[in-house]
């Protein structure tokens, strides 16, 4: 069974197509990272799932219910990008308000504030809090009750690395209790080992979906090798190994990951070589492969 099921979702703003035939599903207990540049359609996706935007085509279902219906809103928790709580209210008042809206007892509030590490400031106006503390308050708000589906729009922007680690630990805990989690982010490096699957959006289209390791393998990116030649040896090296000349004294080669070690061994044995630099494809390269080229090299 799935908690979130999206089929052929298309959303248009006037003549602009913000989401184009997007299909994905998330099961209870599963965490999905939605990646894409600014304007790729991540926030539009969240706002469609919440029922704020009416799709031009396609179906959405949240635990079997229509987006925006009372049953769906009872299941969903949302943390928008850049939410600013009223400055004059204390953290305790903000969270108590959302607990009341969700029909939860106010007694759940203090333990939640402790859990996200802002209990010490609970009775101070939010206007005096740091950005990281406000982001934690927003997360605490999304954790009220037992949400079936967590929608977190760039939840870690503005968090330092330690807070980020705490944050993902909390998400793992909530997912462990059976919640489906969809979070958006700018880069693959951040979500490595932290989400079950990633989905990459580019200009409103889903260009890749799956476990990160599978995506990296499917991208079949090549290793880059830069060879610096000894004086006067550059031409001879190019004849032997091919590649493109760089700066007159260096060669740039690229090769299949599986063949890289053999090639490096052959280059290293060559008398004309002064230095070798090997660059393996990073997660960022994998992300750009899908995001910028739509998965075509």
């Amino acid at each position: 069974m799935t908690m979130l099921d999206v089929r052929d979702l298309t959303v248009r703003f006037g003549g602009f197509t913000a989401l184009d035939g997007l299909s994905l599903s998330v099961a209870p207990g599963e965490t999905l990272a939605l990646l894409g540049h600014n304007g790729a359609g991540k926030s539009t996706f969240f706002r469609s799932v919440l029922g704020f935007l009416k799709p031009a085509a396609g179906q959405l279902s949240i635990g079997g219910h229509l987006p925006g219906s009372a049953a769906a809103r009872g299941l969903v928790s949302y943390l928008p990008e850049n939410v600013v709580f009223h400055r004059a209210l204390t953290g305790l008042e903000v969270l108590s308000f959302f607990a009341r809206l969700r029909g939860e007892p106010v007694s759940v509030v203090m333990p939640l504030l402790e859990k996200v590490g802002v209990a010490h400031a609970a009775r101070r106006p939010v206007g005096t809090w740091s950005k990281g503390m406000r982001q934690r308050l927003g997360l605490a708000q999304a954790l009220i009750g037992a949400p079936g589906l967590l929608l977190l729009d760039e939840p870690t922007s503005g968090l330092d690395p330690v807070s980020r680690r705490d944050f993902y630990a909390l998400i793992a805990e909530v997912a462990g209790r059976g919640a489906a989690v969809v979070l958006s982010s700018h880069g693959l490096e951040e979500v490595e080992n932290r989400t079950d699957r990633v989905a990459i959006l580019s200009a409103g289209r889903l260009v890749a979906q799956g476990p990160l390791a599978a995506l990296a393998e499917a991208a079949a990116l090549r290793a880059q090798i830069r060879v610096t030649a000894r004086a006067g040896q550059a031409d001879a090296l190019q004849t032997r190994f091919g590649g493109t000349r760089f700066n007159g004294t260096a060669l740039e080669l690229s090769c299949d990951m599986k063949l890289k070690f053999d090639l490096v061994r052959r280059i290293a044995a060559d008398e004309g070589v002064a230095d070798i630099e090997v660059r393996l494809p990073s997660l960022n390269d994998v992300y750009r492969f899908y995001s910028d080229n739509g998965g075509r090299s």
């Binding site: 600013v84 004059a88 009341r100 809206l101």
Partner: protein, 277 residues
């Protein structure tokens, strides 16, 4: 039951914000100072008119309230939804089981409470002052009660209009400009334009047949006329001269107030249903 609990949660939060922003205190102090000043002025006139002090205070307070109450109600309400759209908290609230009508009603109740508390405090303070000095009469108290209740209605009408502006404008700056515009039109420009039209029309049918209805169509004018028409011997001037020749019974002046309240509420609810947060 749960919708009521959610409305109460919104009202509580909104009231808390009004208190923190000092709006509640400012509105109360302003209203009370003016009400006491007018009461003192009326007490000073004892013996000069045959009208009793409380009636006299009610007459001058009706004229003042028509400026002050709409202003306070609009100031308290114009940012209530536009501000939340700006800050992103509206999307958050609407992602919870909270209904859109519940949100609108919860905010409206809170704003009516803030304006109502200011009116109540001000009116109670001045009636106590009059009672302690010159004493009160039955008709005076009745006029006072009428004024107090219609003041609450006037506050509710303009709080609903302020919320309508807030959800329609979607931005704090636009909402503020619109609120000032609405106040100017209803409270100042409308009367000036009507007086100009009457002077231009002279003794034609406009003055007798159309003009009174146009005056009654404005909720602020309807409020003032309703109160003044029943105050015998109170001094009236300008457009309020109509109070003596109203073509309908005084209670009918309450109808436009009710209609405006219903229209503002219906308009606001329709807009918030269509809002994309």
């Amino acid at each position: 039951m749960t919708p009521l609990l959610r409305i109460a949660a919104v009202t509580g939060q909104e009231f808390r914000i009004a208190r923190r922003n000092r709006w509640a205190v400012l509105a109360t102090v302003l209203m009370t100072v003016f009400a006491l000043a007018l009461a003192l002025f009326a007490i000073g006139q004892v013996g000069q008119t045959r009208t009793d002090t409380l009636t006299l205070t009610a007459a001058s307070l009706a004229t003042l309230a028509v400026y002050l109450i709409p202003l306070l109600a609009l100031l308290i309400s114009y940012d209530a939804l536009a501000g939340e759209i700006d800050r992103g908290t509206l999307a958050l609230a609407l992602a919870t089981p909270l209904g859109r009508a519940e949100l609108f009603l919860g905010k409206l109740v809170a704003q009516c409470l803030v304006v109502g508390l200011a009116i109540l405090t001000a009116f109670a303070a001045s009636v106590l002052l009059v009672a302690a000095t010159t004493g009160v009469t039955g008709p005076g108290l009745l006029a006072w009660l009428r004024l107090g209740l219609t003041s609450l209605a006037l506050g509710a009408v303009f709080a609903a209009l302020g919320l309508l502006i807030s959800v329609g404008a979607r931005r704090t700056g636009t909402a503020a400009a619109l609120a000032v515009g609405v106040w100017l039109v209803f409270v100042v420009l409308y009367d000036v334009a009507l007086l100009g039209a009457v002077i231009a029309a002279g003794d034609s049918g406009f003055t007798t047949d159309i003009f009174p209805w146009l005056v009654l169509a404005n909720p602020a004018d309807a409020f003032r006329l309703y109160n003044l028409v029943q105050l015998d011997g109170a001094p009236v001037a300008g457009i309020d001269g109509l109070a003596r020749t109203l073509p309908v019974p005084p209670a009918a002046a309450l109808v436009p107030l009710a209609l405006w309240a219903v229209a503002a509420l219906a308009g606001g609810l329709a807009l918030i249903r269509r809002l994309v947060p």
